[in-house]
């Protein structure tokens, strides 16, 4: 990569760290460190909410998904605006007014310590490990693209993030997120502009090619529960998932607790309500346009250069055979694409069918190539994650490549910083101050908080470094996470209902997690978006029924 690109990356990283250290002013007290003294404006909170949710996986994985699978993933977010409005009138005012540090602290006030501790513990386990995977995803890609070791890649993302989060607390995290969002959106828009300028066909022609290959099919109205992304799973399951994530996950709750007022916290949520779907559509559209771009320019058999070298070296005969087939089919597809682009839109059915057929043939050979790579390396190929890095490194002009790499690092940093800050808050408030040192002063708590941030950062970096070998463990944890997400939402719904007993809520929580666990074991075909609905509904039903059956003396 050109040194000017590196200058952009290094300059950006240095700026984020220096600014983070500058923001550490006003964090002498625990409320300043964790909640910025509840003083942040709505627009900064709104941007940090979006930045925390937007990780490097969005930048590299989702764009890759757009290139291979099209726009239909956007259905996943259809429930988000609905969830944001519901949260604005339910959990947001409840938690903000309760003056709590963590969402789980509220559960003890409403129910009992065991419900608080269980939910906080589940959060720490799942978020601690997911934090590692958030660093690992871009680190693996950087490692393959630049030939760095995993330790170097993880350190480039992890170390600056841990430093500014540890020293500056939520103030540094928030103001860094505002800048990160600006960099991320700028990089995406820049890529779209470059694509449109370099594309050998008009924007309308590009969309016709994408449409002919099914990449612009957004809506799927099927009612199958096993189909992950449908209109209904997005609207219903997505609403429950977003309610749970934005309403009860400390990494998000902490963001709006730092807002100046309830009204400002609500307004912050509306930023996501208005902008999340268009932003995700933009991310997917970048992927779709890259697919169209590579209809005219032969892409490598593998976008992952490390994988390409491995296969070439291990089985050169098989590689040459499949590469030759791939490029012959690519040439045929390119001819079909040019014919469709030249045909009048009113009479192009034949050309559309030909392109679709030839694209399917290319996809089939590419799948065979991935199977070959999997057989040689012994691990599942994730070539989709290397599509945009390959494009950025080979096609973007000098300076913009650096901006995009900085944006990927920014996305990873903003997501990790938000999670580290919330992990530290839950550790200190829900465990250290609750069970170990209830009378500790702010100075002591601040020291423990900074230490906790550092320890969680170190833990996340270690998990990220060994992510490849921990693959199956991380998958188990992710599945574990989907067991309790909807259930925790159910507990918060119970907390806002009158006449709900503490023990009933706790039993409901266990019942909800058991119900989702049963669905995962006995009906594994059911998409994970529906798990949240099952969990939340079971908890509320069991909690409400048991509360009605319990004698009044129980309270």
């Amino acid at each position: 990569m050109h040194w000017l690109n590196w200058l952009v990356v290094v300059g950006y990283l240095s700026y984020v760290i220096i600014d983070g250290l500058r923001r550490s002013k006003g964090t002498k007290e625990i409320e300043g460190y964790f909640l910025a003294n509840r003083s942040l404006p709505w627009w900064a909170v709104g941007l940090t909410v979006m930045a925390t949710q937007l990780s490097a996986v969005t930048m590299i994985g989702t764009t890759g998904q757009g290139a291979t699978d099209g726009m239909r993933f956007v259905q996943f977010y259809f429930g988000l605006p609905i969830a944001m409005v519901i949260l604005g009138v339910t959990i947001v005012p409840f938690l903000h007014r309760a003056k709590v540090f963590t969402a789980y602290e509220f559960l003890e006030r409403r129910f009992d310590p065991k419900t608080r501790s269980l939910t906080a513990f589940l959060f720490l386990v799942s978020r601690g490990l997911s934090c590692g995977t958030i660093i690992a995803a871009p680190a693996v890609v950087f490692s393959a693209m630049f030939g760095w070791s995993m330790v170097t890649s993880v350190a480039i993302i992890g170390v600056p993030t841990v430093i500014y989060t540890m020293i500056g607390g939520v103030q540094a995290v928030t103001w860094a997120d505002v800048k990160q969002m600006f960099v991320i959106v700028s990089a995406l828009v820049a890529v779209v502009i470059v694509l449109l300028v370099k594309m050998p066909v008009s924007p309308d022609g590009a969309l016709r090619l994408a449409g002919a290959t099914g990449r612009l099919r957004v809506f799927d109205f099927s009612t199958s529960l096993s189909n992950t992304y449908t209109f209904w799973s997005g609207i219903i399951g997505g609403t429950f998932l977003m309610l749970s994530y934005f309403g009860t996950d400390q990494s998000q709750v902490q963001r709006y607790l730092s807002a100046k007022s309830i009204e400002q916290a609500r307004s912050a949520h509306l930023i996501s309500a208005f902008w999340k779907i268009p932003l995700q559509a933009l991310v997917l559209l970048v992927g779709v346009l890259i697919f169209v771009y590579y209809l005219f320019l032969a892409p490598p058999l593998y976008f992952n250069p490390a994988q390409q070298q491995l296969v070439q070296k291990s089985d050169p005969a098989a590689y040459q055979l499949i590469d030759a087939r791939y490029h012959a089919l690519f040439d045929a597809r390119q001819v079909a694409a040019r014919e469709l682009a030249a045909a009048p839109a009113s009479a192009d059915e034949t050309q559309r069918a030909t392109l679709k057929e030839r694209d399917a043939a290319v996809t089939q050979v590419h799948a065979e190539a991935l199977t070959l790579a999997q057989r040689i390396s012994g691990t599942a190929s994730k070539d989709v994650n290397y599509i945009i890095p390959h494009f950025v490194l080979t096609e973007l002009p000098i300076g913009l490549t650096g901006l995009f790499i900085a944006a990927v690092i920014a996305a990873a940093m903003s997501a990790v910083a938000g999670e580290l800050s919330s992990l530290s808050t839950a550790t200190v408030i829900d465990f250290y101050r609750r069970w170990v040192a209830p009378n500790a002063d702010d100075k002591k708590l601040l020291f423990v908080s900074r230490s906790a941030t550092g320890v969680w950062g170190l833990f996340a970096c270690i998990v990220a470094t060994f992510a490849a070998s921990l693959g199956s463990l991380i998958e188990v944890v992710n599945r574990f996470g989907s067991i309790f997400y909807g259930s925790i939402l159910g507990v918060f719904i119970l907390a806002m209902m009158p006449r709900i007993r503490s023990n009933a809520a706790f039993i409901g929580l266990i019942a909800g997690m058991s119900a989702v666990g049963s669905v995962i074991v006995w009906a594994p075909q059911v998409s994970f978006l529906w798990h949240n609905v099952v969990g939340a509904v079971t908890v509320v039903a069991v909690g409400a029924v048991l509360s009605g059956m319990m004698p009044r003396a129980e309270n």
Partner: protein, 52 residues
């Protein structure tokens, strides 16, 4: 022993559940849904035009 059953923080009338950023909740809700419907219609138009 369990704690009292009623929620400790019920919304006071001045900043009630019906308001967001000083705007009546119903209006905010309608606005958000209207924007979402508009965005979905745009996506639908994109699909209808190019994915015959």
């Amino acid at each position: 022993m369990s704690k009292p059953v009623s929620p400790p923080a019920s919304p006071p009338a001045s900043a009630g559940a019906g308001e967001a950023a000083g705007t009546p909740f119903r209006r905010v809700f309608i606005r958000v849904i209207a924007v979402e419907v508009f965005v979905l219609l745009m996506l639908w138009a994109l699909q209808a035009r190019y994915s015959r």
